[in-house]
Symmetry: C2
Subunit: 237 residues, 2 copies
DNA sequence: CAGACTAAACCTACGTTGTAGGAATAGCAA
DNA sequence: TTGCTATTCCTACAACGTAGGTTTAGTCTG
């Protein structure tokens, strides 16, 4: 096998160049997106850069412009990936077995779980306006049950958007929150409670003990229940 | 006087240097933040940079590190500014005259209006986790009425956070949406409706006409009403 | 009123970033 | 063979945030 290898012991670039051999498949849209998501998971959204991604894949930074249109498109791709990982019910029939409430709860929880699987990447999904076809799956999964439950088209769309707004906001808060804030870190939350009590605002002081702690899961379920209660009630007025 | 000026006719830097004369007040935290907000309003969040801001203020990029801690702190400052521009009721007494519902509506609409006044800067407020004292004003404005209406502390905090989540999500969607999408642009929405009808998803197709258009104001009021209806109902079960 | 100190401006320079524009190399089509 | 195309790497650039230093004017202290 020639004489090229042995002395480059430390870090020399292999100087690989030109079209890769047959089935090597060094890069591909899939591989690039997966690596990017992994990088975001590990280092956070701010830390991601084309160059770091290149380093991780042992590839030139410019190489994945063959597979992705640029940094923004790469983020779009990540969002698409995460959304399509949710796995909504494909057949319409599914939603007829469960009631409106259960269908909505299932979809909301699946959505939440998908975001929590990649908390640092979640803002990409939650922030972006996605007109892509992928984004239609969750829409169908929500509107279907609403129509089946008897909602007229216009109200169903309003309801969809209200639930969507809640999901986006709740998850933005959850994934953005300092992990220390979430639970049981008694030192931090004790400090926070003290700050609240010193605020001088009466209602804040009265509820300081609860404001100082967040259990995201029960908050999520509480808000979701509020919305679903109203939706149920609207059906028989 | 002197001989420094006349030939630098085009773009020569004035080479102003050293501490500025007495009341010049070239820069100040206020001025910097206001200019930054104006810049964001005009060019968008992505386009903003310390250097462009410096250019606009005719100042060296490094100069406002005397007034602001860095780019991130500058964005924090913008968020703080926008929040404090809302003007929540200061006296507790106010909230006793109105009912729970009206108090919440007033606060929600004020919040929304503040975001719509600077749509391109709004994400800064909506995204950031703000432990600052400024952020307590809106919290007080919501929790006060809840307690007054008879909510126990824990439920009041849950309710607060549900409403907050909805506000954040709804406004993220609104300010992020393409302006063309919003209303009356019949060409774009007709195209969009056609796309939806071609999606193959039954519920999406059935509601395509409504999905193709958004009236953000009525969506906002609809979702808010859903939440408030539930909150009202919880008081007498 | 002199000397030291501080505040607020500017200047220089560094490392990083996204990506435009090519050059090289390997497979495929004619 | 002679091209053509796809995929990689290389070079280079303009723009970014900001660390570190310099300059000057006002302010404080003796």
């Amino acid at each position: 096998m020639g004489h090229d290898g042995p002395m480059s012991s430390v870090k020399a670039k292999p100087a690989r160049r030109g079209r890769p051999p047959r089935g090597s498949e060094l890069l591909s849209r899939q591989r690039v997106l997966e690596a990017a998501l992994a990088l975001v998971d590990e280092e956070g959204l701010d830390a991601i850069s084309m160059r770091k991604l290149a380093l991780r894949l042992d590839v030139d930074p410019m190489s994945f412009y063959n597979h992705v249109d640029g940094k923004d498109a790469l983020l779009d791709g990540i969002a698409e990936m995460m959304l399509s990982s949710i796995g909504f019910p494909e057949t319409v029939g599914d939603s007829e077995h469960k009631g409106l409430r259960e269908s909505m709860e299932v979809m909301a929880r699946k959505f939440r779980q998908a975001m929590l699987d990649h908390p640092r990447a979640a803002p990409v999904v939650l922030t972006r306006q996605l007109p892509s076809i992928v984004a239609l799956a969750p829409i169908e999964a929500v509107i279907g049950p609403l129509l089946a439950a008897g909602y007229p088209s216009d109200k169903a769309v309003h309801a969809l958007r209200s639930v969507l707004a809640f999901l986006i906001g709740a998850l933005m808060r959850e994934v953005g929150a300092a992990p220390t804030f979430s639970a049981s870190d008694s030192e931090a939350s004790r400090q926070r409670e003290a700050d609240l009590r010193a605020s001088g605002l009466p209602a804040v002081m009265a509820t300081a003990a609860h404001l100082a702690v967040i259990d995201h899961e029960t908050e999520f379920e509480f808000g979701l229940a509020l919305l679903l209660d109203s939706l149920d009630n609207q059906l028989r007025p």
